[in-house]
């Protein structure tokens, strides 16, 4: 009987021990599961911050971002330092403690920092003067880590040619892009097309060139055994001199036939020598533009 009582007590003691061990295991598991991460909702790219943790002991910490992955041992209950260089790329990041189904996870977003770079597409590089809507500018705004700044940001576009009044326009970015369309100025020259955001600016050069010749006029005179033909300074309708090298065709028609010279404008004037003739008609053209006609040998 006594033996039975002793063995029962021993069994109960063992059961109690097992219960205590089970309780301790459960508590330990519970404590581990209770490790929590607290992350900021939004972080600026390149700026360091802290992730707070709860719980005790140590655990493996993982940080997974669009362009960076980190793994290190951390002490629970102490904040985890995230360095600025770990969050340079904007996008969705996952912070994780431990692994498997019981791991604690938190998601946060890194957004672009302050505008620091502009990629500026200015088209065309060469445009005729006084053309409406001929110049387009597209600015892509980035932070110092080349993340697109998606928050609406005002971009200033400025188009100026030396000696002319500048044209300025401010456009807010949409999804990081701002664009504008501008008229080319009446004055030929290298127009400076600048896109700027804050202290950051990018300059492009748009060459504004003379349009077709306007009021093309020639004069002719005999000299020795040739007829020298020469234009007045060749200008477009806005008064810009056409560029040197532009082809101007002189045509002389007389009894001997037709003579043509494709002369090049040099220092604003096209000049050519034609064969001597009595009673010839001389005309001038540049591209599709026709100028005046003169007669030599029979009065103008």
């Amino acid at each position: 009987m006594k033996y039975l009582a002793n063995s029962r007590n021993s069994l109960l003691r063992r059961l109690a021990d097992m219960a205590i061990i089970l309780a301790m295991c459960w508590f330990a598991a519970y404590a581990a599961r209770a490790a929590e991460l607290k992350v900021p909702q939004q972080v600026s790219a390149g700026e360091g911050f802290k992730i707070t943790t709860s719980g005790s002991g140590s655990e493996t910490f993982y940080l997974v971002g669009p362009a960076h992955v980190a793994k290190r041992e951390v002490k629970l209950g102490e904040p985890i330092e995230i360095a600025g260089e770990e969050v340079r790329a904007a996008g969705r990041y996952v912070a994780q403690l431990g692994k498997g189904d019981d791991a604690a996870r938190a998601v946060f977003y890194v957004i672009a920092g302050k505008p620091a770079n502009i990629n500026f597409l200015a088209r065309p590089s060469r445009v005729a003067a006084a053309k409406s809507g001929a110049i387009s500018g597209v600015a892509f705004v980035f932070d110092q880590f080349s993340n697109a700044v998606l928050a609406p940001t005002p971009v200033n576009f400025n188009l100026a040619v030396e000696g002319g009044a500048p044209v300025t326009r401010t456009v807010k970015t949409q999804n990081g892009i701002a664009w504008t369309r501008m008229d080319s100025g009446r004055k030929a020259g290298a127009a400076q097309f600048v896109a700027s955001v804050g202290d950051t600016s990018v300059r492009r050069v748009v060459e504004q060139v003379a349009s077709d010749a306007c009021n093309l006029r020639l004069k002719a005179q005999r000299k020795d055994d040739v007829v020298i033909v020469e234009t007045d300074p060749v200008r477009d309708c806005a008064g810009n001199a056409v560029p040197d090298g532009t082809i101007v065709t002189f045509t002389q028609v007389d009894a001997q036939g037709r003579s043509t010279v494709d002369a090049r404008v040099k220092r604003g004037i096209a000049r050519a020598e034609l064969p001597p003739s009595d009673g010839a008609t001389i005309s001038v053209a540049a591209g599709v533009v026709i100028g005046n006609e003169v007669r030599i040998g029979g009065g103008r």
Binding site: R126, V202, V242, Q256, G257, T260, V288
Partner: protein
């Protein structure tokens, strides 16, 4: 006795060796004027200039060097890249001591066949006929310095280190001014004019695609050398695109995209004047456009290429013809040219325009 035989054999051997080493003269006297011309050009064809020169009458008063340069070209001209491929001769008139023979020559050149017609005077000279060869006297320009300060365009392109937003130099704007599809001799021909509207030089190429009745592409061709490929600002060039053995009735439409244009470095010289252009009949009675080219710059143009555009009374381009000149265009010295005009179009031509392409060996 045996010694005598030995000496005789040795002498015989010497005589035979001497006889073998003496080349007989290949020049057989030409028995007729036509034979003289044929023998001369046979030798030219074989590039045997010395033998060809043997058929030249001494009265021609030219040395072999001048004769060679006349036939083989000089100054890097097209003729220097040519060889006589074929010829035929015809006696135009003949008397006892003199004859006139027309030689039609076909030269094989770097740019295709080149046809030439020469009327040659042939004279009786010491029992055989020889050709009285005349070399066109070309005036020599006195040594001088011709200052040229024409514009040249060079290009700096976008570098690899530039950011992706940096713009490149824009390609030149060129525009097709006109397009006229016609059928000639069973071939479809598309022709018209193209202008460089820009302020920079352009390398252009015009391409046309013929679309058949069922909407499928029949053929695609470019203007190849029937256009000026490098156009300076505001320069207008004709173009002609040939589609051999395609009838216009097979064609539903012509697809004609924006002509390809590239920004290229170029020079504004040489300036070539085209003087005294007139439509005449050639020796065979066919219409040709003749004139003279004059190089107003200081550098030799090795191969001039003449492009002629013919217009009807409404200003429509009705034909584009071209021709290479086989002589180099020297500075300041007029050089005649002739380009063919179709017989059936001669009556319709109201106006014409000549432009000149130039190829120079020592210029990029």
């Amino acid at each position: 006795m045996s010694r005598l035989i030995g000496v005789l054999l040795a002498m015989l051997a010497i005589v035979l060796i001497a006889a073998g080493s003496i080349k007989p003269s290949k020049l057989a006297p030409a028995a007729s004027p036509q034979k003289a011309v044929q023998s001369l050009f046979d030798s030219v064809k074989n590039r045997d200039w010395r033998r060809a020169y043997d058929f030249v009458a001494p009265a021609s008063n030219i040395d072999q060097g001048a004769f060679y340069r006349d036939l083989n070209g000089k100054d890097g001209s097209l003729r220097t890249y040519s060889s006589l491929q074929d010829f035929n001769t015809k006696v135009l008139r003949e008397s006892e001591n003199e004859a006139l023979v027309r030689a039609k020559l076909t030269w094989s050149t770097a740019v295709g066949a080149f046809y030439e017609s020469r009327d040659l005077k042939v004279v009786q000279d010491g029992g055989s006929w020889r050709v009285l060869w005349t070399v066109e006297k070309q005036p020599n320009l006195p040594p001088q310095v011709i200052p040229v300060n024409y514009l040249r365009w060079d290009i700096i392109r976008r570098g690899a280190e530039d950011d992706w937003g940096a713009q490149n130099a824009e390609t030149p704007k060129v525009r097709i001014l006109s397009m006229n599809p016609v059928e000639r001799d069973g071939n479809t021909i598309i022709m018209g004019e193209v202008v460089n509207e820009d302020t920079v030089p352009a390398f252009i190429s015009v391409t046309a695609t013929l679309v058949g009745k069922d909407g499928s592409t029949i053929a695609e061709e470019t203007s190849f050398d029937k256009t000026s490929h490098v156009l300076l600002p505001k320069e207008v060039s004709p173009y002609r695109i040939d589609f051999p053995k395609i009838k216009l009735s097979q064609v539903k439409s012509v697809k004609f995209g924006q002509p390809m244009s590239l920004l290229v470095p170029a020079s504004a010289d040489p300036v070539i004047g085209v003087l005294h252009q007139r439509i005449e009949k050639d020796a065979s009675g066919h219409p040709v456009l003749r004139g003279e080219l004059i190089n107003q710059s200081g550098q030799t143009v090795n191969i001039p290429h003449v492009l002629a555009t013919f217009y009807d009374d409404s200003g429509k381009v009705i034909w584009v013809s071209d021709g290479y000149v086989d002589k180099a265009l020297l500075p300041q010295i007029p050089l005649p040219f002739a380009v063919e005009l179709r017989d059936d179009l001669a009556g319709q031509v109201q106006n014409y325009r000549v432009t000149v392409n130039n190829y120079s060996v020592d210029r990029s």
